[in-house]
């Protein structure tokens, strides 16, 4: 699919030419999607409003650089996820310290998730699992992180991803595999108990 000929492309060109009504149309078309992405990641309605405003402000100021290689939604999705991670880095909400090692509790979870262990305890703390997912994803390059999110969280198929990003299906598969491996290795590395928490 050519992203330069869709009605969406027409809308983008109008915004690039300074048409404010077209920008409003973009905001209204994608605001719900952007809110859902942010809420999925942060689970906070208050922060969602602030970040969504920032997302569309970024869209406004950088749309002149939009090159039609991906769909507009894919581009907005990337900006949104980036803003969420920016927010997490700045606020370190719920004590998510990305540069730090994992907590003992998280190490336990990761060890429990190691392959070959049939008796993995059920992890019912959804919030903690979400934090863990975010923490692991923070260790991936943005492109791989966004692809994994589009596949696993947004539920897009490989064909859809190829169409959305303008990257061919095989390359998408290779990138996804690499991302999954990195995520797995990051989990393994960080799950290894540090000397202070080895006992027990």
């Amino acid at each position: 699919m050519d992203h330069r000929t869709s009605d969406e492309a027409e809308l983008v060109r109008r915004v690039q030419a300074g048409d404010e009504a077209a920008f409003r149309e973009i905001v209204e078309r994608y605001q719900s999607k952007v809110f859902s992405i942010i809420y999925g990641i942060l689970r906070s309605h208050n922060d969602a409003e602030d970040i969504a405003q920032q997302v569309f402000s970024k869209v406004y100021f950088s749309i002149k650089n939009f090159d039609f290689r991906s769909s507009l939604l894919t581009w907005i999705y990337k900006i949104t996820v980036n803003e969420c991670y920016d927010y997490l880095r700045k606020r370190k909400v719920r004590k998510l310290v990305y540069e730090s090692e994992f907590t003992e509790d998280e190490s336990q979870r990761l060890k429990a998730g190691e392959p070959g262990r049939d008796q993995a305890p059920p992890i019912d703390d959804v919030l903690a699992r979400r934090d863990l997912a975010l923490k692991l994803l923070a260790r991936l390059p943005a492109e791989e992180r966004d692809l994994l999110l589009l596949k696993e969280v947004e539920g897009h198929s490989i064909e859809e991803l190829a169409e959305m990003t303008g990257i061919n299906e095989n390359t998408i598969k290779v990138k996804l595999f690499r991302a999954r491996q990195k995520l797995f290795k990051a989990a393994q590395r960080l799950a290894r108990p540090t000397p202070g928490m080895a006992a027990g």
Partner: protein, 150 residues
Amino acid sequence: MHELIRERLEELLSGAPQPESGLEQHLVTCTECRDELAAFRQQSALLKTLRCAEALSPAPGFYARVWERIQLQRSASVWNALLDPGFAWRLALGSLAALLLMGAFVAMNEKAPPAPAVTAIVVDEQPQELGLDPERDRDAVLVTLATYRE
């Protein structure tokens, strides 16, 4: 992970309803692939916790708030540019250069003999000198424009 499984990994993780018998057979016999696939399945489940099940929409007036923010950021960026020390330095240098150029121009014009500055423009069959009578000059230009058809 072996090629056979890696190539079909995304399908397997998406819960392909019936993995082909070849794949199934390999997974039964190859511990490495089986374990890695199990780990990737757990990872996939972990990532799915970031899904947002609800359809959300912003509070009314969202666009107006976005637009307000854009205006604020726009004026802030103008001020930032003006207050940027690098910009101030470039502005000072630029002004100095402009002053020097103007000075040099004035000095040269004072020394030079009165130059026929407009003769270069007079290229057609109008021998009269332009620049002496504005009224006549305008007529000359209008005539030129009006006759310029071919």
